[in-house]
Each structure stands twice: as C-alpha cells, then as structure tokens.
Symmetry: C2
Subunit: 284 residues, 2 copies
Amino acid sequence: MLPETEWFTEICDEAGSAFSFKIKEKLVEVQTGFQKIEIFETEKWGRLMAIDGFIMLTDRDNFLYHEMMSHPVLFTHPDPGRVLVIGGGDCGTLREVLQHPGVTSCEQVEIDEQVTRLSEQYFPELCSANNDPRAAFHFVDGIRWVKDAEPGHYDVIIVDSTDPIGPAQGLFTEQFYRDCHRALGEDGLLVQQSESPLIHQRLLKEMHTAMADAGFAAVNTLGFPQPVYPSGWWSATLAGKTSDLTRFREQDATQRPFETRYYNPGIHRAALAMPTFLHQQLGK
Amino acid sequence: MLPETEWFTEICDEAGSAFSFKIKEKLVEVQTGFQKIEIFETEKWGRLMAIDGFIMLTDRDNFLYHEMMSHPVLFTHPDPGRVLVIGGGDCGTLREVLQHPGVTSCEQVEIDEQVTRLSEQYFPELCSANNDPRAAFHFVDGIRWVKDAEPGHYDVIIVDSTDPIGPAQGLFTEQFYRDCHRALGEDGLLVQQSESPLIHQRLLKEMHTAMADAGFAAVNTLGFPQPVYPSGWWSATLAGKTSDLTRFREQDATQRPFETRYYNPGIHRAALAMPTFLHQQLGK
C-alpha cells in the first residue's frame, strides 16, 4: 500500500497498470478553466507536474520527451525557419526548438495560460528561452489557430499535447491534420506525440490513416523511452508533405551547436526502427 | 490508494518510484530455499511472476526481454552452436535460443528448480521448447558451473538473472566474467541483462569496466523497452572476445525462419545506438 500523503499515483485504466512517485510535498494545486494542475516535489525525480491526475513531466526525465519532440523533426526539415508548437505549455519543447540557430520564430499556442505561468515559476529551466525574441506566446485554442493560419506559413508544426481526451481530442482528427497540411510550406513537417507503441496501437493506426487521408505523403512513428508515461515507452509521429522521413541532415545533427542528453544522430536513426508487431499493425 | 487485494505493487526504493498491475487473483505463492515466488492473474497483462516482490515477467510484455536477450547475441556470433543460459528459469530465453536452427545445444543452469517447475505449470507457452532434444536443464549454481566448464566449450553465454542482489550478486563480478571468458570459444560472446540505462548508470559503468578487465575485447550495451521493470527502459550488455559487436549476420536475421514480435534487423541496429548521456557516462 502506498499512502497518498507520501506517493503520487497515476492509474492507467486502459492498461490495468499504475505508477507512483515518492513525494516530499505538494507545491501547488490549481483548478483552471480547463483542468486541474498539480505540482509536487518528489524524492528522486525533482519536480513533477500532473494535469487532471496524469503526469505531464518530471525534472529528471523530461529531456527524453522534449528532445525527441523537437530535434528529429527539425533535422529532417531541410531548413526550418518558422515553427509552431501546439500545446507545450511547459515551454520545454520551445526551448529545444530555439536551440536551432536557423529557426526565425517559434510560436507556442497553449490553450491554458496557467500551465505556462506555473512552469515559469516551478520549472524555470524549461522556460529559459521564453525571453528569446524569436519566441511568441498565444494562449488560445490551437485547433482554431491552425484553421485560421495563412496557407504555407509554417515549416514545422509540433503538437505537444495531452492525451486524446478532453481539450486535446480535436488534435487527433483528419480535419485538424488537413488544416496543418494547409498551414505548412512546401517541405512542411508535422510531428505529434502519439502515445505508447505497446498500449495505444489502435490510436497509432488511426493517426497514420488520418494523416495520410489529410494529404501527407509520408508518415513515420519514432519510439523513445519515457519512464513517467504509461508503459515507459512512448512515440512521436512525423508526417511530411513531400519528404522521405527516414533521411535527415545527419551532418548538421552531428555538429549541432547545443548540448543534448538523449538525442544524437544514432538515436535519431534508431528511433525510426519499428518493432515487428508495429510493422504488422500499421501495415508498413 | 491501490488496495493490496486488487493490485500488485513493486516499489523501487532506489528510484523513488513504484508500479502496479491490477490483479484478478493470486494463483500461487511458494517460499523456496532461495526466494519467494508469487504468480498472479492480472487484468490486462496475463499472468505475472514476482520473485521476492520484484516482477520477473508478464505474459504481455516478456517477448521484448526474451527476444532481446537472445536474438542480437545469436545473430552477432558467426555460427553459434553451444549455448549456455545462466538463470532464465522461466525458459523464455531457452525457447528463443532454440529457434535458431544452428544451435546444437542449449543448457540452462538455474539455481532454483521451482522457478522452472512453476513456469511449466503457469507459463506453458514459455516452456514450449523444454522437450527439445537440444535442451538440457541443470538446477545448480551458475557461478560454479561456469568456473568448472571446459575451456572454450561455449559459443554464447546468456546471463538471464535477477537484479545484482541476493543469489545473483556474484554474476556481476570480474571473476565471473573471467570464468565466462575462459569457458567461451574463439568467437565467444557473453550477454547479460544490465538493468535500466536511466536508473542504473553506475552499475552499467562497473559492468563495462569489469568485462574489459576480464579480457573481453569489445563491450556494447543494447537498450530496449521493458514496461514491467523500473523506468520501463532496460538493457542487455554484450561482451565479445574478438568481434566488432556492431556487426551482425543481417541477412540471416532478415531471413530468420521463425517469428518475432519485437526483434528485426532494424531494431537490432537501433538497440546499438546509445543516448548521449550514456556515451558520456561510459566514456565511449
């Protein structure tokens, strides 16, 4: 038994599993117009943010997710200048994006301003690029933002959202992918967090189908470890208008002028490899 | 709170984390001369075996571990005939090894016969190769077995053990690796489960050092997902007497005459890629 005063536990009903982190104290709990945000100080994982009871990130392992949501897509695009992040309110993805010197603007469209304000306070290292002049913040609905975007405006769209329930549900639809496709330039790329390869195979298949139906020429899923999400195994799905998504700017990735803790060109190639069961499930 | 009657929970003190699986019932609990073995029927992961409170395997995800403990090492060796499995009492590794037509014998040396007897009863699919005439079972101490082995006898030694505490502690020492080195033939390969790349970096570094000090010319760590082990991210460390461990029989792996659910040549290459932090930690 894990007493609630000492442990934060997330139950994943779908997987019949749960995982828990030992906590020192709850730092804050806020009910916003959209969701309940809690932040804890843990024993071994630094700070932990949960939204509606689901762990979003910890200090200790968020580098895996944030690096894999940004560097593979940015090194796959030939010359990414204008980047849009949908969701991503903790600003960790924005920070990684702005490490790429060629990026001229990174707009973050997060529906719930409180996620960003609390991150600035409790996860300052994730927000270290928030004052970069290339960063812009819009606290509005991302689905609407993409629908209204000028055609061909963005080079890369990163969908760094919560699970496909509640406010994020509309981010996993063919209509949204059509709007992304229209908002992207010629070599445009979309990447979206796409849940666990082990637990969410049906969702992955639906995403691949919907992205292809929306007009994307290539769709690839990249796997990576993510200890604080169910099964500890997570994925990002990349959709491209024209590119072969298995090729990327390897030399630029090798000579990247910034530090990473997980990402490197070998890891990029590795993430593109698919388990046999996923080849079978996705029919590719 | 997760009531003990409905959930099996494993606490990892070292990581300040825990994970839990919803159970229907406990099928068996046996205290052997070595350890406590429990088997549960879970809601979503099939059957689960725990030893001294630590999850060993579930029906749902053991394929990841068993495939990665056997196929990479066997396809790296030029022509593996004689294979030794130390531990591996659930027989899942033995089953995978015996799928390779070139293997002429696979000896399993498990200290606790009860692990195998209970697996035959509760995990019959893992034991489906136990009657293969190439299989032999010895319920004795694996450390002693390797010490007494004829020099150069084995092509591949697979150490499929519990964590480096209790009976398995001696399997993580330079002396044991020296004995393995002597028991292996010219192109001989050792592979050992080597815990979590995120949580057990010190152990990994110690293993690399001890294996090199024991005379192995090359040491590589392969990562893979393993949802039921702490952090959901696990590894196997390969040590070779002569080989470049990044090359393997890709064509044979592609044309393998058996089914896999995780392993394929792309996954094999991918597993060899190391995160930046591990490159730094291991100094390679």
